[in-house]
Symmetry: C2
């Protein structure tokens, strides 16, 4: 019933937003905390979770669910893409393409609404070692 209240601009919220703007890849809440604490040392993890959820609800952030690993989050509005998780450093990267024809994989009667593809291996940095 009540008009949705305005999100206030706090130091913490700003630091969290900047963490994502600085990042060139999806961030986990823990990575976000570490990055944002460079601006606001006392920042707590609960505030990171609350603001991430808030940004997701606003549509500014998008959830990146991964098999067997905590979610990452990235700024939304990118074109369709998928992700690569490095088994060594555990960082997640965006990958461009998307294979076609997923619908042909389905059993009869199933309705396809989406898909997640996660590649894994070693990122460029970790492949050298």
């Amino acid at each position: 019933m009540s008009a949705p209240t305005q999100a206030r601009q706090t130091l913490q919220r700003t630091a969290i937003r900047r963490a994502f703007e600085r990042a060139d890849r999806p961030l986990s809440p823990a990575e976000t905390l570490a990055s944002a604490q460079r601006e606001v040392p006392g920042l707590g993890i609960a505030t990171v979770y609350r603001n991430i959820r808030n940004f997701v609800d606003e549509g500014w952030l998008e959830e990146v669910p991964l098999p067997g690993a905590p979610n990452r989050y990235e700024i939304s509005g990118k074109h369709h893409h998928h992700h690569f998780r490095c088994r060594i450093c555990d960082r997640v990267f965006e990958v461009e393409a998307c294979p076609p024809d997923l619908r042909t994989m389905l059993p009869r009667g199933f309705r396809l609404e989406g898909h997640d593809i996660t590649l894994f291996g070693r990122c460029a940095g970790c492949a050298r070692s």
Copy 2:
């Protein structure tokens, strides 16, 4: 140093193995518990986790990691395949095919070691409603 000890055949372990043999799809630990408790009512969830891990270590079970959902487990040795998760009933099913050319998705310098593909939508049962 010590020779690996033999796994003992207990009522619990047998009930857990049968739960997977009865299932036509990958099971979560909770689903496994529910199924195995039909044979051993007092069965505890910790025992399910311990035996699942044990079966995985033996190679009889295989982990099915899913984005944003607890792991499922399935009897191993099947040919390469992927999974479908129903958004309504939360059950996971096997799907046959696998799209090619995943390697072309990679940024330069990245080494691909594996991939997970999860389709989601409605299973045949839930698509009707």
